[in-house]
């Protein structure tokens, strides 16, 4: 009897949240999957079923492929820069935990992550500015040639990778710091007695023992890398201010297809591909974690 009453309370209490969730999460997700198999140009009532045609077309679409490769390069590039740097930085900050500057270090490292995307991108946009930015000023001052950072297709991707890494570094450091704090202290004392220097201790003990965290941070930064949009929008806009013209990313391509090219089904197919990539990365993370027997 009591159990019954509790059951009804539970259902009633969770119903509002579940209803909202169903409306803003479940329904749109299912809609995306459904639309990906249809053709819809926003205006007509007609949404014919086209099967996998959208997907087939996508893989022949140069703009999509361009966006896909750019996004992948940005995601993996940012990860490749962020992971080792945040690990090393966290190691050093952890080593100096007892310093009175420890709070300053943690705060300063994390501020780039806290600053919202657009102002941060604005800050870097000026730095990278070919004609007015300090980066080129420093390079020229050192005797080199000014580079068209935001105009060259290759260089602008590098700029985005730098910006994204700069923003993600603080997050990585934070998570690694938590990891360091949970490492068993006696293992390091034993290593110290065995003759390990600070660097050796880091290479042979810390880094391997932190593998689960490295895995987690990798996947998280990869996934957010694949969703990159604001940074490309701001940094890589051309002189007319048209956003992201220089560097196409997946989300941009998707939104363009949906709202400018009036091909919602096509855009939905792109979204499904993005979803598949994210799911695959998550699966890999789980697989790798379990393979090591977890923790």
């Amino acid at each position: 009897m009591l159990r019954r009453k509790r059951f009804w309370f539970a259902i009633m209490a969770i119903l509002p949240t579940f209803a909202i969730f169903g409306w803003v999460r479940l329904f749109p997700i299912i809609e995306t999957l459904r639309l990906s198999m249809h053709e819809w140009n926003l205006l007509s009532k007609n949404k014919p079923f086209v099967g996998f045609q959208n997907f087939i077309e996508l893989f022949g679409d140069n703009q999509f492929l361009d966006a896909l490769s750019n996004t992948a390069i940005i995601a993996f590039g940012a990860m490749a820069v962020t992971i080792p740097m945040s690990l090393v930085l966290a190691a050093i900050i952890y080593h100096r935990t007892r310093s009175r500057f420890a709070g300053f270090y943690e705060t300063a490292v994390f501020i780039p992550h806290v600053v919202s995307l657009v102002p941060a991108a604005m800050a870097w946009k000026w730095i990278f500015d070919a004609k007015l930015g300090p980066l080129n000023a420093v390079i020229v001052g050192l005797g080199g040639n000014a580079l068209p950072w935001l105009f060259d297709p290759v260089l602008s991707v590098i700029c985005i990778i730098l910006l994204v890494s700069w923003q993600t570094l603080g997050y990585g450091v934070l998570i690694y710091l938590v990891g360091f704090r949970n490492l068993p202290k006696s293992v390091f004392e034993a290593a110290q007695l065995d003759g390990a220097s600070g660097v050796q201790s880091f290479l042979y003990m810390s880094a391997p023992l932190l593998k689960p965290i490295t895995l987690y941070v990798s996947v998280v930064t990869l996934i957010s890398g694949f969703n990159v949009y604001a940074q490309a929008y701001v940094l890589a806009s051309d002189t007319q201010g048209a956003p992201g013209r220089q560097v196409r990313v997946l989300v941009l391509d998707m939104l363009e297809n949906s709202f400018q090219n009036f091909r919602v089904g096509y855009a939905a197919a792109e979204a499904v591909i993005l979803l598949s990539i994210v799911l695959m990365l998550t699966m890999i993370q789980f697989g790798l974690l379990r393979g090591k027997g977890g923790r």
Binding site: S186, V187, E189, L193, D194, G195
Partner: protein, 354 residues
Amino acid sequence: MATVEINELRKSFDDVETLHGISFSIPDGAFVALVGPSGCGKSTILRLVAGLEEITSGDIYIGDNIINDIEPKDRNIAMVFQNYALYPHLTVAQNMGFSLKLLKKSKVEIERAVKEAAEILGIGELLHRLPKQLSGGQRQRVAMGRAIVRQPQVFLFDEPLSNLDAKLRVQMRAELKALHRRLATTTIYVTHDQIEAMTMADIVVVMRDGNVEQVGRPLELYDKPVNQFVAGFIGSPAMGFLPATTKVGSNEMVFSDGQVLSKPTYATLDGGYIIGLRPEHIRLGGDGASFKATIEASEQTGSETMLVARLADQEITILLRERFDTPIGDVHAFVIDPTAVQVFDSKTGARLET
């Protein structure tokens, strides 16, 4: 020559001094146990010798060298931690060979050294396992193997057996002792278990609250404890203490209930003292000083009887090496050899010499 000399060692943590000028010497090849209740500073001394903590003042010598400012890895010592501190991500062989790998020894050399140590400890078959696949006793051995491989001058043990179950502990005690006999390396062994200290050590250092109470061979500490603390700490079951009064030159000590114990006293002052009675010295009959006590509880283990009795309104423990069945509440006479009775100053706790 791996003698160890501790000289006026002091250690403070954040302005609180926890070691108050410790001094003692350890001869080459000796097995020295540091015992005492928790917080007495024994682990701190070990960690100072290892170099894991900084010395506040005082000196530590290994051989003729003062090692205060030498890095842990250059002190030629090895340590076995209480929780073994094995490298969880390395195999047993890699754990044991780690120090040699850091010294850039060749693979062949490392393999040989690891194999040798593994054979001594009987863990040859576990070389490819990870620590989490091992039992407590096996991990213990791997930790020791890791220490042996370094061929150090001094072994440091930090309560290595306290995480093992009782039976395993007894077995490992014997093995450790045998290992020490075989390797003849100077060993400093920290434990809170005085039985371990007594059975394994050549020399025992008893500590309390950051001070050394007594240093000596196990039996010395048992027969001639320097004060009440050491007397009560060493020996199991613990010595019983009762207040008694006596006069200079008298042959009697009087308990608070009026009972008189015939024991020549060497007191230099009249007044109250503390009498110490070891449970195992009290017998049912025979020659000696006798007294009466009321039985309050009795435990039979088959070969021994442990009694809790009330004498002069104090509880004392009596350990009889025979079966003795008596109803609770009975008053019984007991006998003790007067020379086994110890007398302590009631203010300082120091033992009066007999």
